[in-house]
């Protein structure tokens, strides 16, 4: 037995391996990105033979894991909640088909949201797909539930979702664990086309079968230790009870313990779907009112069907959006207690400090591209060459190009390209030549760029596409891409150059440039714009290739330049607004722009930016 501190995602990895998972696939995305690396670390240290892969996207990851599972092995795929949207097609069908070996889909939610487009609730996706879901409240539970999910999945022959939310994924907790062993199960797919390739007529029967499985799992969820439980004393009735799942359960537990409120019973829902109906009924009948706290949508609240008893989001007692942070939940519970005329919680007066902080006019710290980031150079050049263009962009570090005025839209993975073609047709229909420049990162392009690009070429759209190739998946913590030719476990994989993929999509204009060479990039964007306008032209693809400054410091920055700003600075603020490097700031003491030498990395790209030539090498 060893006791170590685990990140929640590492705890999930531990649970999966303890559950004998033989294949783990994933596409990175906050807050899920550390699960697969956690698996790889344990595989290394324990000498396991688990297969791991960074798949090109979440659907690919799920399909791969599904095939492993129906060959009788145990498999898992890991993604963030919006990644499950990408894998939804696969998920819905997999629910009907079921599995042979255990299959777990780990989908990490992001209440807040801290690093996502939406606050969507994976539990609703589980309900939609009719797949059981487990909702841990701590890294310790995440580990136990990962293992449990594999077992339930295999026993009932149905995929199971594990949905840790961000405060579980990125929590750290000490856990004790023992050495791990390989699961020796061999792949043995038994052909049964009427099942595994079932036609709609048979799908009806599969649906019926799935419903039966769910009934049985609902009962199992009431028996399993540590999933759904309450602390009602038999025969006692309570004026108020709280039903909570996931992170809010942990917060509620702490608040009630701190306030010594044993008069408020709690029903913990760690398995919200299929809902533990009997347990829910039992809790409702012992309490006059029940407050439901859950993140981020209304799942438990809908299952507790006594409208006049249940307080929550639907009754307006719980905020409809945002994270249920401890201070928020403290207020919610206190508010309900006061409304019901019960003993309130200890009063927290945060008005004074809130007003104080508000009055201090603290600078807003928006996330920004790193000093030396090649994307900054690309965005600067693009905007310089095509100032009037619509800038469609995508999901990654480079979404922060919006700080430089280089990003106008961000919808979902791959939409940099698809929205460019959409805008093209919208304007072309009116006979207008609207310049459009799309940007997308290398990893996002491999994830879901090709189908949009194929479509755009096929349907005659015209725009410039700049693929920002920093040769890594940077935002999520530096995972390799197919363009790098290195696989998840560090072994050599087949390198698939962007140029070949783009050419395969039917693009004729493909040119590469190093964005650190600002002048060359500007003139290439201009050349591409000509090509887009030319009657015999089409879509122009520029591959702006420079390694990520964080991942490849040496390669990205072979020689450092000492930069300084001269008295020629006229405070036009162009460098601050259009280049927006964190190392450049307005120095109130000297009354002009200055370089923060602690932040400056010495890339020297800003030397190209000042119209007065005030940024110089010293």
């Amino acid at each position: 037995m060893r006791e170590e501190i685990f990140l929640g995602n590492e705890a999930v990895a531990l649970g999966l391996l303890e559950g004998g998972c033989q294949v783990v696939t994933s596409y990175p995305g906050t807050p899920s990105s550390e699960i697969l690396p956690g698996v790889m670390k344990l595989v290394r240290s324990e000498g396991l033979h688990t297969y791991t892969e960074w798949s090109t996207n979440e659907k690919v990851a799920l399909d791969n894991a599904f095939a492993t599972a129906i060959s009788g092995k145990r498999a898992a795929c890991c993604m963030k909640q919006v990644g499950l949207n990408v894998a939804a097609d696969s998920l819905m069908s997999a629910a009907y088909l079921g599995t042979v070996g255990g299959l777990v889909i780990v989908s990490c939610d992001d209440p807040g949201p801290h690093s996502s487009q939406t606050e969507q609730d994976t539990r609703l996706m589980a309900r939609l797909a009719k797949v059981p879901v487990l909702d841990p409240s701590s890294p310790r539970e995440a580990r136990d539930m990962a293992r449990m999910a594999l077992e339930i999945s295999e026993e009932f022959k149905v995929p199971v979702i594990l949905r840790p939310a961000i405060r579980v994924c990125h929590a750290r907790q000490s856990l004790s664990w023992s050495p791990l062993k390989d699961n020796e199960t061999k792949a043995s797919f038994e052909k049964d086309p009427s099942h595994w390739a079932a036609t709609p007529r048979f799908r009806f029967l599969l649906h019926k079968e799935l419903n039966k499985k769910l009934d049985a799992i609902s009962r199992r969820f009431e028996e399993l230790e540590g999933v759904n439980f309450h602390d009602l004393e038999s025969g006692r009735t309570y004026p108020l009870g709280i039903v909570a799942g996931g992170t809010p359960y942990a917060v509620v537990r702490d608040i009630l313990d701190e306030e010594k409120r044993s008069d408020i019973p709690v029903l913990k829902i760690g398995g919200p779907y299929p809902f533990p109906e009997r347990m829910g009924k039992e809790f409702l009948s012992a309490c006059e009112k029940v407050l439901v706290v859950e993140e981020t949508d209304t799942v438990i609240e809908y299952f507790l069907r006594e409208r006049d008893k249940v307080l929550g989001r639907l009754s307006g007692h719980v905020p409809g959006e945002g994270e249920l942070a401890p201070q928020v939940l403290h207020q919610v519970i206190d508010g309900v207690l006061r409304e019901l005329g019960l003993e309130p919680l200890s009063r927290v007066d945060d008005k004074e400090v809130t007003e104080l902080i508000g009055s201090m006019e603290l600078p807003v710290r928006r996330p920004t591209l790193c000093p030396g980031c090649p994307h900054r150079a690309s965005f600067y050049a693009i905007r310089k060459a095509q100032p009037k263009a619509i800038f469609t962009s995508d999901i990654g570090c480079y979404t922060l190009g919006l700080n430089l005025g280089g990003v106008d839209t961000c919808l979902d993975m791959g939409a940099g390209i698809t929205m460019a073609s959409g805008f093209y047709h919208a304007y072309a229909q009116d006979g207008e030549e609207q310049p459009i420049v799309a940007t997308i990162g290398d990893s996002t392009f491999y994830h879901s760029g090709t189908s949009g690009l194929l479509n755009a070429v096929y349907n005659g759209s015209r725009f410039i596409l700049v693929i920002l190739d920093n040769q890594i998946t940077a935002m999520t913590g530096m995972q390799p891409t197919p363009g790098l030719g290195i696989r998840a476990d560090g072994s050599k994989g087949k390198k698939i150059p962007l140029e070949k993929v783009v050419a395969g999509c039917g693009v004729d204009f493909i040119e590469e440039v190093d964005p650190y060479d600002v002048k060359a990039t500007i003139s290439l964007v201009k050349k591409a714009a000509q090509y887009v306008k030319d009657p015999s032209g089409g879509i122009a693809v520029i591959i702006a290739r420079h390694p990520c400054i964080i991942a490849y410091r040496q390669q990205a920055l072979p020689d450092r330049k000492q930069v300084t700003i001269t008295d020629d600075c006229v405070e036009c603020n162009l460098c601050l607004e259009r280049f927006e490097c964190p190392a450049l700031y307005h120095d109130d003491k000297i009354g002009r722009t200055a370089v923060d030498q602690a932040l400056c990395i010495g890339c020297g790209v800003c030397l190209n930016v000042c119209p007065k030539g005030a940024i110089v090498e010293s």
Partner: protein, 239 residues
């Protein structure tokens, strides 16, 4: 963060070059060692309704300042004493230069987040972030901040700190790190400064030993130099 493993071309190989998980501890049956947790009892833990046994810490600053490494030093030091820990970190987009907050809870707790108004200690690597996160600190809490003692706190914040009996201690951690030639080591500087005030359960010896143990070899010496320098500065103030 130069005091942490510097990312490089083989960043993803880190995962398998390390045969063990990065946060290695060595205590057993933490939950049975309540006696060890008792020394967490202190005046500050008399916050309203707060359990006597727990200690809540919030660390804040800007992305890239090494908040996570600072949290790791405290977490590992506590773990070495057999204290259960829970923590919450910031990853993803917020890390790119934005405000970063890290929570560390010592003792038996379920949730990873510190509730506003209840933290015992706030460690801030940047002055504005200290104000921004002031609401976390409870009455009689301690504030350690990388700021100029001549000008901290801003006049409008003074009365609030006084009224709530918050003890603020500041040091120019960033400047010390810069003078020692490692501008990115302000985190080590602040922890070194903090170590001079013996905020139980953290002792100077434990913190220094943790820094020595978890710093990658090539930063070990620098990290310890920065730590020691600021520890001495703190001693002058605490004596």
């Amino acid at each position: 963060m130069r005091n942490e493993e510097e990312p490089n071309l083989t960043i993803f190989f880190r995962y398998f070059l390390n045969t063990s998980l990065p946060f290695q501890g060595h205590f057993e049956k933490a939950h049975e060692k309540d006696s060890q947790i008792h020394f967490l009892m202190r005046d500050q833990s008399k916050n309203e309704g707060k359990s006597m046994k727990n200690m809540d810490i919030v660390l804040c600053g800007l992305g890239g300042q090494g908040i996570l490494f600072m949290t790791k030093i405290l977490a590992q030091s506590a773990l070495g004493k057999g204290i259960p820990i829970m923590g919450a970190e910031t990853h993803g987009m917020a890390q790119r230069g934005g405000s970063v907050v890290s929570h560390l809870r010592l003792g038996k707790v379920e949730g990873s987040l510190v509730r506003a108004g209840t933290a015992h200690i706030l460690l801030a690597l940047e002055e504005n972030e200290a104000y921004r996160n002031l609401a976390f600190l409870g009455k009689k809490g301690s504030l350690y901040v990388n700021a100029d003692p001549e000008t901290f706190p801003r006049p409008e914040a003074g009365p609030y700190l006084e009224k709530n009996e918050i003890v603020s201690r500041c040091t120019l951690a960033g400047k010390v790190a810069m003078d020692l030639g490692t501008p990115m080591s302000a985190n080590l500087a602040l922890i070194g400064f903090f170590s001079a005030f013996a905020e139980s359960p953290f002792t100077y010896d434990d913190l220094r030993e943790t820094v020595e143990r978890i710093s990658p070899d090539r930063f070990k010496e620098t990290n310890l130099t920065v730590f020691d320098t600021c520890h001495k500065m703190g001693l002058k103030e605490s004596s």
